[in-house]
Protein backbone atom coordinates (compact mmCIF):
# COMPACT_ATOMS: atom_id res chain seq x y z
CA UNK A 1 0.00 0.00 0.00
CA UNK A 2 2.69 2.45 1.03
CA UNK A 3 4.62 1.49 -2.09
CA UNK A 4 1.62 2.41 -4.21
CA UNK A 5 1.36 5.82 -2.59
CA UNK A 6 5.04 6.39 -3.21
CA UNK A 7 4.66 5.24 -6.83
CA UNK A 8 1.71 7.62 -7.30
CA UNK A 9 3.64 10.59 -5.86
CA UNK A 10 6.56 9.78 -8.08
CA UNK A 11 4.34 9.57 -11.17
CA UNK A 12 2.61 12.86 -10.31
CA UNK A 13 5.93 14.62 -9.72
CA UNK A 14 7.35 13.21 -12.91
CA UNK A 15 4.35 14.34 -14.94
CA UNK A 16 4.50 17.86 -13.49
CA UNK A 17 8.24 18.03 -14.22
CA UNK A 18 7.87 17.48 -17.94
CA UNK A 19 8.21 21.19 -18.78
CA UNK A 20 11.38 21.48 -16.68
CA UNK A 21 13.08 18.69 -18.59
CA UNK A 22 13.02 20.69 -21.82
CA UNK A 23 15.94 22.71 -20.43
CA UNK A 24 17.18 20.90 -17.30
CA UNK A 25 17.53 17.44 -18.85
CA UNK A 26 19.56 18.42 -21.90
CA UNK A 27 23.27 17.80 -21.27
CA UNK A 28 25.33 20.90 -21.98
CA UNK A 29 22.24 23.10 -22.45
CA UNK A 30 23.06 26.75 -21.90
CA UNK A 31 21.24 29.73 -20.52
CA UNK A 32 22.16 32.76 -22.64
CA UNK A 33 22.74 36.44 -21.78
CA UNK A 34 24.60 35.62 -19.64
CA UNK A 35 25.86 32.22 -20.73
CA UNK A 36 26.03 29.47 -18.16
CA UNK A 37 24.83 25.88 -18.08
CA UNK A 38 21.31 25.26 -16.85
CA UNK A 39 21.69 23.91 -13.30
CA UNK A 40 21.60 20.20 -12.52
CA UNK A 41 18.55 19.24 -10.47
CA UNK A 42 18.77 15.46 -10.03
CA UNK A 43 19.55 14.67 -6.39
CA UNK A 44 19.01 18.25 -5.18
CA UNK A 45 17.18 18.74 -1.85
CA UNK A 46 13.42 19.15 -2.34
CA UNK A 47 13.18 21.91 0.27
CA UNK A 48 15.77 23.94 -1.57
CA UNK A 49 14.05 23.46 -4.94
CA UNK A 50 10.77 24.70 -3.43
CA UNK A 51 12.52 27.77 -1.98
CA UNK A 52 14.20 28.44 -5.33
CA UNK A 53 10.87 28.24 -7.18
CA UNK A 54 9.28 30.64 -4.70
CA UNK A 55 12.21 33.04 -5.11
CA UNK A 56 11.68 32.98 -8.89
CA UNK A 57 7.96 33.51 -8.37
CA UNK A 58 8.44 36.65 -6.27
CA UNK A 59 11.48 37.88 -8.25
CA UNK A 60 13.98 37.58 -5.41
CA UNK A 61 15.76 35.59 -8.08
CA UNK A 62 15.41 37.29 -11.42
CA UNK A 63 15.05 35.04 -14.40
CA UNK A 64 12.21 35.75 -16.85
CA UNK A 65 11.75 32.15 -18.02
CA UNK A 66 11.85 30.70 -14.53
CA UNK A 67 9.56 33.47 -13.27
CA UNK A 68 7.01 32.63 -15.96
CA UNK A 69 7.20 28.92 -15.20
CA UNK A 70 7.03 29.38 -11.44
CA UNK A 71 4.00 31.68 -11.69
CA UNK A 72 1.99 28.77 -13.01
CA UNK A 73 2.78 26.50 -10.06
CA UNK A 74 0.81 25.96 -6.87
CA UNK A 75 2.60 25.15 -3.60
CA UNK A 76 1.63 21.50 -4.11
CA UNK A 77 3.02 21.50 -7.67
CA UNK A 78 6.33 22.84 -6.36
CA UNK A 79 6.51 20.12 -3.70
CA UNK A 80 5.66 17.37 -6.20
CA UNK A 81 8.25 18.57 -8.70
CA UNK A 82 10.88 19.05 -6.00
CA UNK A 83 10.35 15.57 -4.56
CA UNK A 84 10.65 14.06 -8.00
CA UNK A 85 14.04 15.67 -8.66
CA UNK A 86 15.26 14.86 -5.15
CA UNK A 87 14.40 11.19 -5.67
CA UNK A 88 16.70 10.96 -8.71
CA UNK A 89 19.85 10.05 -6.85
Amino acid sequence: MSNNIYADEFAIGKAKSETCLGCHAIPGYNNVYPTYKVPKLAGQHADYIVSALKAYQNNERQHPTMHANAMGLSEQDMKDIAKYFESLK
Partner: protein, 108 residues
Protein backbone atom coordinates in the same frame (compact mmCIF):
# COMPACT_ATOMS: atom_id res chain seq x y z
CA UNK B 1 52.77 44.92 -38.36
CA UNK B 2 53.06 41.17 -37.95
CA UNK B 3 54.59 41.64 -34.53
CA UNK B 4 51.79 43.97 -33.54
CA UNK B 5 49.27 41.33 -34.53
CA UNK B 6 51.11 38.71 -32.51
CA UNK B 7 51.24 40.95 -29.48
CA UNK B 8 47.56 41.71 -29.76
CA UNK B 9 46.69 38.03 -30.02
CA UNK B 10 48.82 37.23 -26.99
CA UNK B 11 47.22 40.07 -25.04
CA UNK B 12 43.80 38.71 -25.83
CA UNK B 13 44.58 35.08 -25.08
CA UNK B 14 46.72 35.18 -21.96
CA UNK B 15 44.52 37.02 -19.47
CA UNK B 16 41.40 35.02 -20.27
CA UNK B 17 43.17 31.69 -19.97
CA UNK B 18 44.81 32.66 -16.70
CA UNK B 19 41.83 34.24 -15.03
CA UNK B 20 39.08 31.84 -15.99
CA UNK B 21 40.85 28.63 -15.07
CA UNK B 22 40.15 28.34 -11.37
CA UNK B 23 42.38 26.28 -9.12
CA UNK B 24 41.05 23.11 -7.53
CA UNK B 25 43.35 23.04 -4.51
CA UNK B 26 42.86 26.72 -3.74
CA UNK B 27 39.14 26.14 -4.06
CA UNK B 28 39.28 23.25 -1.63
CA UNK B 29 41.09 25.39 0.89
CA UNK B 30 38.73 28.33 0.46
CA UNK B 31 35.68 26.06 0.68
CA UNK B 32 36.13 25.30 4.37
CA UNK B 33 33.89 28.19 5.36
CA UNK B 34 31.16 26.93 3.00
CA UNK B 35 31.17 23.48 4.64
CA UNK B 36 29.34 24.70 7.76
CA UNK B 37 26.14 24.95 5.74
CA UNK B 38 26.82 23.20 2.44
CA UNK B 39 28.56 20.18 3.95
CA UNK B 40 32.00 18.78 3.45
CA UNK B 41 32.46 18.19 -0.29
CA UNK B 42 29.31 20.21 -1.03
CA UNK B 43 26.70 17.72 0.16
CA UNK B 44 24.60 19.79 2.54
CA UNK B 45 22.93 18.05 5.44
CA UNK B 46 20.57 20.99 5.96
CA UNK B 47 17.82 20.42 3.43
CA UNK B 48 17.02 24.05 2.78
CA UNK B 49 20.59 24.68 1.61
CA UNK B 50 21.46 23.45 -1.86
CA UNK B 51 23.82 20.61 -2.64
CA UNK B 52 26.73 22.13 -4.57
CA UNK B 53 28.63 18.94 -5.36
CA UNK B 54 28.67 18.21 -9.06
CA UNK B 55 26.83 21.40 -10.06
CA UNK B 56 27.98 23.03 -13.30
CA UNK B 57 30.98 25.26 -12.69
CA UNK B 58 29.74 28.24 -14.65
CA UNK B 59 26.34 28.09 -12.94
CA UNK B 60 28.09 28.26 -9.55
CA UNK B 61 30.11 31.24 -10.79
CA UNK B 62 26.90 32.92 -11.97
CA UNK B 63 25.23 32.23 -8.59
CA UNK B 64 28.08 33.59 -6.49
CA UNK B 65 28.39 36.72 -8.62
CA UNK B 66 24.63 37.20 -8.32
CA UNK B 67 24.84 37.00 -4.53
CA UNK B 68 27.84 39.33 -4.51
CA UNK B 69 26.10 42.00 -6.59
CA UNK B 70 22.81 41.58 -4.74
CA UNK B 71 20.99 40.64 -7.94
CA UNK B 72 20.19 37.30 -6.34
CA UNK B 73 18.73 38.23 -3.00
CA UNK B 74 19.90 36.19 -0.03
CA UNK B 75 21.15 37.97 3.04
CA UNK B 76 23.31 35.07 4.26
CA UNK B 77 24.99 34.40 0.93
CA UNK B 78 25.49 38.10 0.26
CA UNK B 79 27.55 38.33 3.43
CA UNK B 80 29.88 35.60 2.28
CA UNK B 81 30.00 36.46 -1.42
CA UNK B 82 30.85 40.12 -0.78
CA UNK B 83 34.27 39.04 0.44
CA UNK B 84 35.09 36.94 -2.62
CA UNK B 85 37.28 38.05 -5.52
CA UNK B 86 36.62 36.83 -9.05
CA UNK B 87 39.50 34.40 -8.57
CA UNK B 88 38.01 33.06 -5.31
CA UNK B 89 34.72 32.47 -7.13
CA UNK B 90 36.48 30.61 -9.95
CA UNK B 91 38.43 28.45 -7.49
CA UNK B 92 35.42 27.57 -5.34
CA UNK B 93 33.31 26.79 -8.37
CA UNK B 94 35.91 24.45 -9.85
CA UNK B 95 36.21 22.64 -6.52
CA UNK B 96 32.48 22.09 -5.94
CA UNK B 97 31.74 21.23 -9.57
CA UNK B 98 34.25 18.41 -9.40
CA UNK B 99 32.74 16.71 -6.34
CA UNK B 100 30.41 13.76 -6.84
CA UNK B 101 26.80 14.76 -6.33
CA UNK B 102 24.18 16.33 -8.55
CA UNK B 103 23.40 14.93 -11.98
CA UNK B 104 21.32 15.85 -15.00
CA UNK B 105 17.80 14.37 -14.76
CA UNK B 106 16.81 11.81 -17.40
CA UNK B 107 14.76 13.13 -20.30
CA UNK B 108 12.23 10.27 -20.14
Amino acid sequence: MRNLKKILIIMILIPSSLLSAGDYNSGKEKSQICAACHGVDGISQIKTYPILAGQHKNYLVHSLKGYRSGERKNIIMKGFAENLSDQDIEDLSVYFSMQKGLTIPPLK
